[in-house]
């Protein structure tokens, strides 16, 4: 009976969602502000990748808020899981020596890949969020592969704070030079080069470090509650 009611309700919602989106044509251009972004991204911001220039430059203030939300989520997760103890580890779960050596050997390469992705964020697909996530995945591999590995939380929080300060200072410099918050003050350079697009690479590198540190901290907090240490 309950299932029938739920199915009926979902059918109702689905029908109205469908009728709402049936009026939106698929595959046709309905850009309004996007057209302007696409046309002005190379002359105004110097970035080749339009998505990056929207995320960092046109809507940089949104990104600052979003990074703050991530920070709050990481802090709240630490507060929720504070003081939990896990069950003691059984011997079967210990990583083998091949895994330990492999994790140690692969970690620099993964960090290199993440750094490549967020340094080239204004040229190729990718950017701070993706690169930071890849670095966090590398830290996860260390946690899984090395026995009794603990991420250094003090170092992580220092890294994260420095990255956040870099973001805010890059915004305030715009104000200091008589422009608006987060406006570009550096020379634009040649589009397509690594050192171009003004302030965008600096902010995206900061975002990459911040996201990487936050997600690594989240993973280490969650793992240490299940590993039965502390």
């Amino acid at each position: 009976m309950k299932k029938l009611l739920a199915t009926f309700l979902l059918g109702f919602i689905g029908f109205y969602l469908y009728t709402a989106f049936a009026g939106v044509p698929f595959g046709e251009s309905k850009m309004k502000v996007g057209k302007d972004y696409l046309e002005t991204t190379v002359p105004k911001t110097g970035a080749v990748n339009t998505v990056t220039s929207i995320v960092v430059n046109y809507r940089g203030f949104d990104t600052l808020g979003e990074v703050t939300v991530l920070f709050l989520a990481a802090t709240g997760l630490g507060a929720i899981l504070f003081g939990m103890k896990g069950k003691p580890e059984d011997k079967h779960r210990e990583p083998s020596s091949i895994l330990t050596t492999g994790a140690k050997a692969l970690f620099p390469i993964i960090v290199l890949l993440g750094a490549y992705i967020f340094i080239h964020g204004h040229l190729t697909p990718g950017g701070g969020f993706q690169g930071g996530t890849i670095i966090a995945t590398g830290v996860l591999m260390l946690i899984l592969g090395i026995k009794k590995f603990h991420a250094n939380h003090a170092l992580l929080s220092i890294m994260e704070s420095l990255a956040g300060i870099t973001f805010v200072v890059a915004g305030i410099l715009g104000l200091a030079f008589g422009k608006t918050f987060l406006e570009n003050i550096l020379p634009l350079g040649t589009p397509g080069q690594v050192f171009s697009a003004g302030v965008i690479p600096i902010i995206y590198v900061a975002v990459g470090f911040k996201v990487g540190a936050e997600l690594a901290g989240v993973l280490d907090t969650m793992m240490s509650t299940t590993r039965g240490e502390e």
């Binding site: 011997k91 079967h92 779960r93 083998s96 091949i98 895994l99 492999g102 050997a105 692969l106 390469i109």
Partner: protein
């Protein structure tokens, strides 16, 4: 069509062939460990030669593709080792007529 393109085409063909063999092996093999040996060894070689072949076809990308090949050569055996070990630890044993399980024999003391 210069010599680099021909080498690249040969390498990509070989890679596609090995990937196909790996896929057939996953379907045809009887138990988990033999499936894994088809699904990791053959596809490691297949992916490596495929990516290297693309690097030969487009010489500007050759350095990056060599880096990717080195990364695959490092990471793929480690991950398949971890998978096989986890499967053995969680109680899936090889399906063989002679009952050969060398890993179990060598690690007798920590299988309590």
């Amino acid at each position: 069509m210069n010599i680099m393109t021909i080498i690249g085409m040969a390498l990509t063909t070989q890679g596609a062939l090995f990937l196909l063999l790996g896929a057939i092996g996953i379907v045809r093999m009887p138990d988990m460990y033999t499936r894994m040996q088809a699904g990791t060894k053959a596809t490691t070689l297949g992916a490596m030669s495929f990516i290297l072949g693309i690097g030969f076809m487009e010489p500007a990308w050759l350095l990056k593709t060599i880096l990717i090949v080195v990364f695959i050569a490092l990471s793929n055996p480690i991950s398949s080792h971890a998978l096989a070990r986890a499967a053995h630890r969680s109680g899936i044993f090889p399906l063989s007529r002679e009952n050969i399980d060398l890993y179990k024999r060598d690690n007798q003391e920590d299988k309590s």
